[in-house]
């Protein structure tokens, strides 16, 4: 088994979730790396969209910004934020990959503040396009390192909607029907959501980890799928693509 770091592991696992012919709204960093890796492996026809207006580029390298020139290099269209976001709102975008400072049991994310909103201990960037993507795209996924500071019982601020308060609460909120969190990929495991309660549930554990160890690094009680898989580690080819073609300067995989 090849040697790899947790970022390489998460990106490789994430890439496998993006089937050929699907569309995905991504930001910079790990989500973009995962989408690029998917294109170079099983999903050459994966369609990448950037919220600033870049639609189906042929990414020549990792973009630094969601709006830099690379995001519409040899694209189908260099459109507007309206063009991109409205395509999401109309149901044209299947996946999105997000992150955040905190995540809760229902897959809700915080990227706004720690502490009180009026007088925050720590201010983060805010939603950006995350709330929009999570509201509009059919399946929202999260890629994040896992620890009890991030996986919390209660968010300081609910920036981006997951299953909200679980059960039918997301559908009742008014958000588009049929949307919601799909999978959470951490450095230890893959989680989905139990269909009724919409609580987070471990479905696959990465090499070298156990359910107990995953639970220890989570601030709330995780459900267990009936059958828990063992996550396949990155292949040599995935690692080669990531290291040589996608991120040769290790902007993302070097973090």
């Amino acid at each position: 088994m090849a040697d790899f770091n947790t970022m390489e592991l998460m990106i490789s696992i994430a890439a496998r979730e993006l089937e050929n012919g699907a569309s995905v709204g991504v930001g910079t960093g790990a989500p973009c790396a995962a989408a690029m890796l998917a294109q170079k492996t099983a999903s050459p026809d994966l369609v990448i969209m950037f919220e600033a207006g870049g639609i189906r580029p042929r990414l020549p390298e990792m973009p630094i910004s969601v709006g830099d020139s690379r995001t519409f290099y040899k694209a189908s269209m260099a459109g507007s934020m309206g063009d991109a976001m409205e395509a999401c709102s109309r149901g044209f975008v299947d996946y999105t990959f997000l992150g955040g400072a905190q995540i809760d049991i229902y897959g809700n994310l915080n990227s706004t503040v720690i502490g009180d909103h009026k007088k925050p201990k720590v201010r983060f960037p805010g939603s950006g396009g995350a709330n929009d993507f999570a509201s509009f795209c059919w399946k929202m996924m999260v890629m994040t390192p896992q620890n009890t500071k991030r996986f919390v019982e209660k968010l300081d601020f609910l920036t981006t909607p997951g299953w909200l308060e679980g059960g039918n609460s997301r559908m009742e909120s008014g958000l588009p029907e049929g949307t919601g969190p799909y999978k959470i990929i951490t450095d230890m495991a893959i989680m989905d959501f139990e269909p009724e309660s919409k609580r987070m549930r471990v479905i696959s554990i990465h090499p070298g980890h156990s359910f107990e160890n995953v639970q220890e690094n989570c601030g709330f009680q995780l459900l267990k799928a009936g059958h828990i898989e063992q996550t396949a580690p990155p292949t040599d080819e995935e690692l080669r693509l990531l290291r040589e073609e996608i991120d040769p300067y290790r902007y993302v995989i070097g973090r």
Binding site: G21, D45, K74, A75, A87, G91, F92
Partner: protein, 329 residues
């Protein structure tokens, strides 16, 4: 949301964005080759009973070849967006293609006069009519493009145009002022004519956009007719010029002079003599029948139609007119 007043017109299409999303979810996102003959595209994507919208404005960048083919194939019972529908409407009326009509501007051909055929058909009692305005229909397409059930506007209040529409007046919760909510319009199928398109459906055009970008976004199925196909490399070289991205498009049909007898900006001007002929012969049912036989039913396709109306020489003349070449001494 309290409705202050509701128009009593019939809403021919469902404004529910979740139903539209369910449909758009099934559209292929792959950049696949979509080139086909116009005949096949109309057969495959335009069905009896569908709600149809046509791109362009009046007889400008309007997909006339597609309108002829729809009539030639005998489509019936369609809904139609009369969004400054002039010569397109005239042709579709000749075929009695539609029986539900959203009106912004219909029957007329602007400065050229009124179509006896369109008028007679709309007055016949066979057509159910709801009233809108040009901007109201633009706003309805914009709402659909945004994936929301309505957008507000500030026109039509106080008029019968409102009363015979299917829009609703509400009070704005920010300002207390009245606004009209225009319900999203998701056509089942639309046709847009462009200058250039690649085999995947990435399309671009020059001149006014009218409401075609919102229309392309709003419609469930979209046929592009194009003056010419271009390489995808040409699209990729200049993605800023793409007006319609491929994933909205179901069929790409290369139809040179596809807007004839209307105007295609920078390519050819409208054939005013032929358009006057249309208006004239409509007044006599027998003459009109023969005229339709000659120009639509007796033609295999648009090339045939152009052949019986002057062919290449006529097209050169219309190009000279469009480019105002007579002014260059």
């Amino acid at each position: 949301m309290n409705t202050v007043e509701a128009g009593q017109g019939v809403l021919f299409t469902d404004p529910d964005p979740d139903k539209a999303r369910q449909f758009f979810r099934t559209k292929n996102r792959k950049m696949i080759r979509k080139v086909m003959e116009l005949k096949d595209a109309i057969e495959k994507f335009v069905h009896d009973g569908d709600y149809l919208a046509i791109g362009g404005f009046g007889a400008n960048r309007t997909p006339m070849a597609a309108c002829h083919e729809i009539v030639r194939q005998g489509r019936k019972n369609m809904g139609f967006a009369g969004h400054t529908a002039t010569h397109d409407m005239e042709v579709l009326s000749a075929g009695e293609v539609y029986n539900r009509l959203d009106v912004a501007y219909v029957i007329g051909l602007e400065a050229r006069g009124l179509s006896a055929c369109s008028r007679k058909y709309v007055e016949s009692g066979k057509v159910e009519v709801t009233e809108w305005t040009n901007y109201s229909l633009t706003a309805r397409l914009k709402a659909a493009a945004m994936g929301v059930p309505f957008v507000p506007t500030r026109n039509v209040m106080g008029t019968d145009t409102f009363k015979e529409s299917a829009s609703k007046i509400v009070e704005c919760p920010y300002t207390g002022k009245k606004v009209v909510l225009m319900p999203a319009l998701y056509p089942d199928v639309s046709v847009i004519h462009v200058h250039e398109c690649d085999v995947y459906g990435n399309a671009r055009f020059k001149g006014i956009a009218v409401s075609d970008i919102d229309l392309a976004n709003a419609t469930k199925r979209l046929i592009i007719t194009t003056e010419r196909l271009v390489n995808h490399d040409e699209i990729a070289r200049d993605p800023s010029s793409t007006r319609i991205p491929y994933f909205l498009v179901d069929a790409v049909c290369e139809v040179p002079f596809g807007a004839y007898p209307g105007t295609m900006p920078y390519e050819y001007f409208s054939d005013e003599v032929h358009l006057k002929e249309w208006l004239a012969v409509e007044k006599d049912p027998d003459e009109f029948k023969a005229f339709l036989q000659k120009n639509i039913f007796g033609c295999k396709d648009h090339e045939g139609y152009i052949a019986v109306n002057g062919g290449a020489k006529k097209m050169r003349d219309l190009r000279a007119k469009e480019l105002l070449l007579s002014r260059e001494v």
